[in-house]
Amino acid sequence: MSPKEPGEFPEVTPGSEPDATDNLPENTLPVNPDALQPEVIRVRQGMFGTTGSGDTSGYGGLVRPVTMPGGTPRPYGGWFDEFADDFGTGLAEAGLPHAVEKVVVHRGEITLFIRRADLLEVAKLLRDDPKLRFEFCSGVSGVHYPEDAGRELHAVYHLLSMTHNRRIRLEVTCPDGDPHIPSVVPVYPTNDWHERETYDFFGIIFDGHPALTRIEMPDDWPGHPQRKDYPLGGIPVEYKGATIPPPDTRRAYN
């Protein structure tokens, strides 16, 4: 992924003039072709965990890219296609043709990467459209990818449609330099505390939240503890003459 300026949203550039095929059902969810590549979030170096190399000794200075599953092309399989058709139609009607950055179907779960500026509108559409009807939000969870330049902070929403008995996942990213994501509290009031928690732990500022304050940590706490650059802390513990170092300084096989 190329680094992006803070606040700039990636433009979806199909690279060709619109033609008749754009209206085919399988093209109703516009997706950047680049988004189909596995996403490299960092490169791991060390002695452990490399596959595909002849060197099993570990002394070769092994380098391994860490990739998250890339976008999935149609058809997705199962009810995902029916959902994608309805969702694509709804997006077109709502005037949000570029809201979806990419769609990942992995391990039987569908993840929609939503452009952050469109999040609130998309959430409203997902909740209110009778064919979608995701009336239940299981809250938001933050994930910090410090080496994924321009997309360091992810907010992940799990939506449930009790009407259709379906679950989807929305993922919204924002850069560390501009950690703003629109709040979905106007659509899903249940996210009130969840967004406060994610703000508390990751420093993502949910614009439009009624009272975005810390919820778990004390009000005057410095930093956001769940970020990867925030130390775990801990002290060495002596037990029967041996000293056990704190967990974040122990040998890791990651």
Partner: protein, 455 residues
């Protein structure tokens, strides 16, 4: 600043149990529950009806270390807010520094009244990421269901017991904890621990059923069938109990949807949403049980649902016990030796410890087994990159773990959507406009567990 000056000026109320001080917001009384005279006199002098009461976090009726900020007009609550975070222990952060299997040891401690559900949702997520959902042995699945349902009974018993205690029904508390003890005895027999079991592991469960466990479970079922009617006899038609609970803490279906409430609170509105039925996991589709609903959407309905759900859990436990009887000697851990936890425990003359058979095998018979043991215990297994969310129906509602892997031996991120955390948001709508005494009942009917709220 001026606070010191004001404090000295107010020495006329020199009550060691209820000292008072002046702030910008008005006079502040610190009450420890010993002597209310100075508060009563002081408030009367202020000639103001509006009082802000800070209740908790150390209070016997707030269902844990929950802090309530109540704004009162007389005895009516005009605003209610929760202060949480007093039990935050950084479990999710800690899990990022341990192997995938060790993560179970941490997440079991979150919602300490339903440890098996924490373990189960985390393990189901990890198993989905590993792509081994279909390879979990049947016996492990049945044991998971068995433990989860015994756990549902023990959790509901605590909900009813503490809820009763908070409104003064102390007998409900004593008999509730009496029966819960039976559940914990079963846990101790099967897992070795009464709480914090870390028994459900990615790939299966830690150990096989101990000898004699099925008989004890059958005794437990028989005893519970005698004991559960006691709760109904004590409470169901008790006029005081009903007067305290009926039409208190009402939240209708639309409110539950908007605020994301699940579990008994949602089912008390009459909507039969239970993940065991709607999105079955661990083979729940193979068991015969009913989803209990009520139509009053109040605290009394939630109490009756919990009571009836214990009967349904007993039905599931009976079926699971019968299935386990036919699964003697079947594996309880996945066959894949690259994932299955290699170590085995056994009861020896000095208590539970390493299985001597296993030690003999890895030290004397198989170099490969020794390597696997060493690698899996020190390094752990790798989980393919991706994310998963597999919620389960905990006694309090939808409990889910958002598990993210970057392909390493440790969780990249594990976030728990705890139902207590979400459901507690309903405190304001349930309590505002009611009496102070009803706040306690409303919160007890949500049954938040602060270990799960704060994690």
């Amino acid at each position: 600043m001026t606070t010191t000056e004001n404090t000295t000026r107010n020495r006329e109320y020199d009550d060691p149990y209820a000292p008072s001080s002046h702030t910008d917001e008005g006079r502040v009384f610190t009450v420890t529950g010993q002597d209310w005279d100075s508060v009563v006199t002081g408030v009367a002098e202020e000639a103001e009806e509006r009082v802000v009461v800070n209740m908790g976090p150390q209070h016997p009726s707030t269902h844990g270390v929950l802090r309530l900020i109540l704004e009162l007009e007389g005895e009516t609550v005009t605003e209610a807010r929760c202060g949480i975070g007093y039990l935050h222990t950084g479990i999710e952060k800690n899990m990022e520094f341990r192997s995938w299997t060790q993560g179970v040891t941490f997440c079991t401690r979150m919602d300490y009244l339903s440890p098996f559900y924490n373990e189960a949702t985390y393990c189901l997520g990890v198993e989905r990421l590993l792509g081994i959902e279909d390879e979990i042995p049947e016996k492990a699945q049945v044991m998971r269901v068995l433990l989860m349902e015994i756990n549902r009974i023990s959790s509901h018993l605590v909900a009813i017991a503490t809820g009763g205690m908070e409104i003064g029904a102390l007998t409900v508390m004593t008999i509730g904890f009496r029966e819960r003890e039976l559940c914990l005895d079963l846990f101790e027999l099967i897992t070795g621990l009464r709480m914090n079991h870390a028994f459900i592991r990615p790939g299966g469960v830690a150990q096989d059923m101990p000898p004699g466990a099925l008989d004890q479970i059958r005794d437990f079922i028989a005893l519970m069938k005698k004991r559960l009617p006691e709760y109904a006899a004590l409470c169901n038609a008790n006029p005081i109990f009903k007067a305290r609970l009926q039409d208190v803490g009402v939240l209708d279906l639309a409110g539950c949807m908007a605020l994301g409430l699940t579990g008994p609170v949602l089912r008390s509105t009459g909507y039969p949403w239970d993940l065991r039925k709607t999105q079955p996991y661990s083979g729940y589709q193979d068991y015969d049980f009913d989803v209990v609903t009520w139509d009053t959407a109040d605290s009394y309905g939630r109490f009756r649902i919990r009571l009836a759900e214990m009967w349904e859990s007993l039905r599931i436990i009976e079926q699971a016990t019968d299935r386990l009887a036919g699964l003697e000697g079947a594996p309880v851990m996945i066959g894949d030796k690259k994932i299955a936890w290699p170590s085995q425990l056994a009861i020896g003359s000095d208590g539970m410890g390493n299985s001597l058979d296993h030690i003999r095998h890895i030290m004397g018979e198989s170099m490969e087994a020794l390597i696997h043991h060493f690698k899996l215990v020190t390094e752990g297994f790798r989980v393919p990159a991706g994310q998963a969310y597999v919620p389960v129906e905990s006694p309090r509602g939808e409990l889910g773990a958002h598990v993210v892997s970057d392909g390493g031996t440790r969780p990249y991120r594990a976030h728990f959507r705890d139902p207590s955390f979400t459901n507690l948001q309903a405190t304001s709508v349930m309590a505002e406009g009611g009496m102070v005494a009803d706040v306690i009942v409303a919160i007890a009917s949500i049954d938040p567990v602060m270990g799960g709220v704060d994690r």
